[in-house]
Symmetry: C2
Subunit: 347 residues, 2 copies
């Protein structure tokens, strides 16, 4: 039913292989022949059968993107940018949600979909250092995102977690806050973004000659979402813990915390200042707007796709590690003026 290369070949009076050669830019073809073939393609409305090509070449032009959940804004923005970047390279993306469940995270690595893809951009949540081994004998290109697993032989796109967290904390200290909650560390996790950001938090205190009150280092058990942020800060308030600022380890936690603080009748930033991490869109229109860290939100997806595409095409050497520059984005939650929309930058 669909038009094949044979049909085009017949129409142009050449062999199927010549049509293939034209389509793939093989150089030794008479201009006149090439024109005849292109004309035939045009006339018949030929479109290549990607499946057949994949079978023959062993490459599909599809890459996988494994992440916890698309409904989490940070990952939605990441996925959108990855798809756009992939488009630039002529690649198609399939997204797999593992929900941060360890079994699913491992299954993604070896599941049937890996046959469909040329490589994987992989953002695990539950995996730990022990699992690094399972990443090594994979037979396809892999690019890691985040800090959960690391291996010197695998391409990696990450963030300057410690330095950025330190900058965030210092921002609060400069504003005169002295009892800053660190919201997000998980005592059972020894690797990942959380401990690195906690280190930045401690470094800032140390550099300022201040001790960290352990009561203010508040673990979150569930995922870093609005509900967890609200619930956890709610518990602190219930317990009568005294604090004048919150450094949440991501924006969703921060926004949930900010919500709860205001529901309880406290003012942000007057009573409690809040800083997040990730610079998701939502924080630019919250009330007040959210001070946050932009960890390189435009660079990360672009680089991840670039690294994977280079591996896929076999033009890459040793493993690379990329950690883009970060930036503190001041917002109303730490006292920066919330600009009215009429004067706000378009984004």
């Amino acid at each position: 039913m669909a038009v094949t290369m044979r049909d085009v070949a017949r129409r142009a009076g050449v062999s199927a292989k010549t049509v293939s050669n034209v389509v793939n830019g093989y150089p030794y073809i008479k201009p006149e022949t090439r024109d005849r073939v292109l004309a035939a393609i045009e006339e018949l409305g030929y479109q290549m059968n990607a499946t057949a090509r994949s079978l023959r070449t062993g490459r599909t032009g599809i890459i996988g993107l494994a992440l916890p959940e698309l409904r989490v804004p940070y990952f939605a923005e990441l996925a959108g940018a990855v798809i756009a970047a992939a488009e630039e390279c002529g690649l198609t993306v399939i997204i797999e949600q593992h929900g941060g469940r360890r079994d699913l995270e491992l299954e993604v690595l070896t599941g049937a979909r890996r046959h469909l893809t040329d490589g994987l951009i992989y953002s695990p949540l539950a995996l730990g250092t022990d699992d690094a081994a399972s990443l090594l004998d994979l037979s396809y290109p892999l690019v890691l995102l985040g800090e959960r697993v690391f291996h010197p032989d695998i391409d990696h796109v990450t963030m300057q977690n410690t330095a950025a967290a330190r900058a965030a904390t210092e921002h609060l200290l400069r504003a005169g806050r002295r009892r800053i909650v660190a919201l997000g560390p998980n005592p059972t996790q020894d690797v990942g973004s959380a401990p690195l950001r906690l280190t930045g938090y401690r470094e800032a205190h140390e550099a300022a000659g201040l001790a960290v009150d352990p009561v203010l280092v508040v673990p979150t058990i569930r995922t870093w979402d609005h509900a967890t942020g609200a619930r956890t800060v709610g518990r602190l308030l219930d317990d009568g813990v005294d604090f004048d600022a919150v450094f949440a380890f991501n924006d969703s936690l921060a926004l949930g915390a900010m919500h709860e603080i205001q529901v309880r009748g406290l003012r942000v930033p007057d009573d409690v200042a809040v800083v997040g991490f990730d610079a998701i869109d939502e924080g630019r229109y919250s009330n007040p707007t959210l001070t946050t860290i932009d960890p390189g939100r435009t660079v990360i997806p672009r680089e991840a796709v670039r690294l994977l595409d280079e591996r896929r095409r076999g033009v890459a050497g040793g493993a690379r590690r990329i950690a883009p520059d970060f930036q503190l984005v001041p917002g109303g939650s730490t006292g920066a003026p919330d600009r009215a929309a009429a004067t706000a930058a378009v984004g």
Copy 2:
């Protein structure tokens, strides 16, 4: 390199076709043979080559999902749910972002990716009634989302736009609001969600015996996002327009509007009540929380996948149209108490 059916066949002492038959559940196989084959599969770690199967059968098990932008929370949540529903059916999803640009929306319909997919779930933004024709002679299953295009011969999953908008407006009228802004209609659009929701808004006024002040019907030119909501409401305030409520045609507009209203020193809901549409997660943790319409957020993605899968498998009859029940979700933005997290339902 990879294990093929031939390898499995050799190991089990049968033909490749028999392996295929076992894998595909063909009934006439001796239990003992089946066991030998399954054992061989297990031992060799055989995984089917999906590409080869696709070439032969003409089906890929992949469906497309075309939407404006993943970074828009409504679409991120939709996409996440579609992927999860597809997983249930053993389907894989590729997402294509057309950004609401008409040329890209049309290109999605005929682009190269259609060869990769068994069908398309299609949520256009710029297309109009005139384009319905382009949807008809497509050679693959199509399920339409939204109201931009409609055709009686195509499966459709939509919302009860008019009834829901009427309910939202009546909610505001019941609360005593009399100058309600309708935020979102676009005068250049005669089809789509906007005019239907505007109709609901008008119906509510009519039923209450109230006239609609045309000044309060406020078009938005750009997309329905935070920035547009903030900017547009900002302009109303600059112009000194008198209003005591906003019915925004989606949640992002509503949240942007609510942000701007508060930046200007007005109180929500005391000075201005706000209602949105879509029931995205973000509105459950905004300050105050957002009153909104849940148009069937769990039903829509599930039904879309189901309809497409049925078409794909050829088990569907005539075109179907599904418009799930909607629900008003009360929030602080119209005066419902914002519950503290400690007592809030987990979500």
